[in-house]
Amino acid sequence: MDIDTLELTAEETAFREKVRSFYAEHLTPPLRRAAELTSWTFAEFEYGRQWQKILYKAGWGAPHWPVEYGGAGFTPRQRLIWELETARARPPEVMRMGRDYAAPCIMRFGTDEQKQFFLPKIIAGEDWWAQGYSEPGAGSDLASLKLSAVSDGDEYLLNGSKIWTTFAQHANRIFMLARTANMEKKQQGITFLLVDMNSPGIEVRPIINIAGEHEFNEIFFTDVRVPKSRRLGQEHEGWAVARYLLLFEHGAGIARSAAELKRRAGWVREIASLEQDGCGGALLDDPDFSRKLGLLEIGVEAADFAADQVIIAAAAGSAPGFEAELLNIRCRELDQSLTELAMEAIGYYAAPDQREARFVEPRTDAIGPPHVLTPTPIFFAQRGATIAGGTPDIHRNNLARHLLD
């Protein structure tokens, strides 16, 4: 969807202007640069944190939350305008596991105490959450997780490890799945816990990703004690909480994917307009390059419209599960192809390893013109887009079950 094709009322126009001037005022060059340098999911942490605090001060720390917890109380149209303007402005992507994943689950399954304790710290940008799902032996097959939580009076005693926890080095809390019992089905006997990262017995090992960045971690739990008051939902029934979260994650994903795709396509086009074809013309006019870009841009147009229909249908009350998952497969393929094309566009300058130049405050001078700094790490990091959140094979399995069984 395109903000310029929306017909706005006077009131809506005023709202849009308010949002635009907010972004114009607060989105400083370092914050913009933080967004541009993002190669995996979140911007450099410090800038994401700053941005969350700015949002919070403006009353927009978590616009989609219920008003009672600090939500902005947008109408659906305002929400749409907010999202389209946000996509256009491109603030740094905030480490979202607390605000977008943990919070809705706490609202749905949490005790009053838990709500009062956790939610204000999330929206204010004081608490930062990691997501403890995958384990070394349980990736796509999440339910086979083994990290054990043994009941010991008012506490659980945790032993085991979690892996691929994005940005856990910046988190002070982690929501996680632990096995409290071995029952007939592996989805049973799992418990959802809210754990402090500074608990004794927790150790974090960095995992450097393929783009040379510290995105992932492995977390070791050795006799970590967690009060039972930090359990979310019923004992042994954490899978229900996890599924609720997953639904939420997918729904938010589609709108974001489509907007992100459009931005990405524009980015590739811009790079190609800055690069040359080697014979005196712009790379953008090279028939081979423009063919590949055009095919992807067309794909983006289709995905964008399909996403709108899914969103509209969801707004009308129908569950977006099947269509969203179907669309998701194509969106990720398109996005990965776009990042590959960006890397192709910069030719030889794809090669330099520039990890030290890619901080908001760079630790070394960059090689080449500014536009060659990010395509390579973005391409490499985004290979993870078809691994995190389920591989295309897993999604195809789910969809096939829906279509055929």
Binding site: G294, A302, I312, A313
Partner: protein, 375 residues
């Protein structure tokens, strides 16, 4: 196609699907010649009021929009009905609606709506490939007549049309946009030779030779030498209609494939147990969803400014060509040997989808048109 259809549209959709399933379903209908089936379907469509959908009420039409046309075409595609809705109603009707002299409109549109008249467009030539401005056929003004000379190829529906819309050059060089004119030519005109044939997708078409055919100036459609914008507009509408037909065919093929893998047994299991086939079926549905989305987007863009409209329509054609070809090939492959025969409708859908590829311009032509309009 996934959309917030109105109740009326949903009713029409249902009515068409029932009609096609009851009266024209395969293999029964293959016992009759295609032309007979087309005629029978045409009568039914006339009775349902579908032929009048896009026309003004004053002529008996119901002033429907692009989405209605898409909906009809999707149903025709799904039902594999060889009714020439595109040449007669979308293209022929479109030219009349946008540029027809009032007398002609009053004379021809009611006959079209009643199902008594067919129309056709003769614009492609042996050297023109997909470029509608590549016109070698000439039209020379002589008094109150034009004299048309040249050759056209593969004019769909010409064998049963009463009139042909013929492009001819009244000025400019071989591929200039300027200088292309559009004429309404009676099939009975002296000097008109029509070599008719059936097409592999069960329609009819003809190669046409114009040996100094005389056309009255009153049958010039639009302004002399300025027909390209009109032609592009109407062809864009035809493209969306053709894409909707292809999307309907894809829906039918996907349904056939789901049914087939659920029932066919090999190596002691139904085919639906094989992961490779399961994933292929998913990909076929992804392709269908994407094609449907772009077709609707293109239908909604038809009333927009020409450059925007053309950009989205070309995106649509380029993408639907690919998606449909993928689904068509996969469906044939999934069915095995029976898929490469004329005994199952799967092969016929496939042929329709493959010939759809080049109609009104192939995927590459439209990719370039899209790119030229994306700057």
């Amino acid at each position: 196609m996934r959309y917030a259809w109105t109740e009326e549209q949903t009713l029409l959709r249902g009515a068409l699907e029932r009609l096609f399933a009851e009266r024209f379903s395969f293999p029964d209908r293959s016992k009759q010649p295609n032309q007979y089936v087309a005629q029978a379907a045409w009568r039914e469509l006339a009775q349902l009021g579908v032929l009048g959908l896009p026309f003004e009420e004053q002529f008996g039409g119901s002033e429907g929009g692009a989405l209605d046309t898409a909906l009809v075409m999707e149903a025709l595609g799904r039902g594999l009905v060889p009714a020439p809705y595109i040449p007669s109603i979308v293209i022929g009707g479109g030219f009349l609606r946008y540029a027809g002299p009032s007398a002609l409109k009053a004379e021809l549109i009611p006959r079209l709506i009643a199902g008594d008249l067919h129309l056709a467009l003769a614009f492609t030539e042996a050297q023109s490939r997909f470029n509608p401005a590549n016109v070698a056929t000439s039209a020379v003004r002589r008094g109150d007549r034009y004299i048309l000379s040249g050759q056209k190829i593969v004019a769909y529906n010409a064998p049963i049309a009463g009139f042909l819309f013929v492009t001819a050059r009244t000025g400019g060089a071989h591929t200039d946009l300027d200088g292309v004119s559009l004429f309404l030519v009676s099939v009975d005109a002296a000097g008109l030779e029509v070599r008719s044939y059936e097409t592999a997708d069960e329609y009819s078409a003809a190669d046409i030779r114009l040996n100094g055919v005389e056309v009255a100036v009153g049958h010039l459609i639009g302004e002399e030498g300025k027909a390209i914008d009109l032609i592009e507009r109407v062809l864009d509408e035809a493209i969306v209609a053709a894409c909707a037909e292809a999307v309907g065919a894809m829906a039918a093929l996907n349904a056939r494939c789901v049914e087939h893998v659920r029932t066919r047994v090999a190596f002691g299991q139904t085919l639906s147990k094989f992961q490779a086939l399961r994933h292929r079926i998913v990909d076929m549905h992804v392709a269908y969803e994407q094609a449907g989305a772009l077709t609707l987007k293109a239908a909604l863009s038809l009333s927009a400014a020409p450059a925007h409209r053309a950009r989205i329509v070309s995106a649509c054609k380029a993408q639907v060509c690919q998606e449909a070809a993928f689904v068509g090939k996969a469906a044939v492959q999934l069915h095995g040997a029976i898929g490469v025969t004329d005994e199952l409708d799967v092969g016929r859908y496939f042929k329709r989808i493959m010939l759809f590829q080049h109609v009104f311009g192939g995927a590459d032509y439209h990719l370039r048109r899209f790119l030229a309009l994306s700057r």
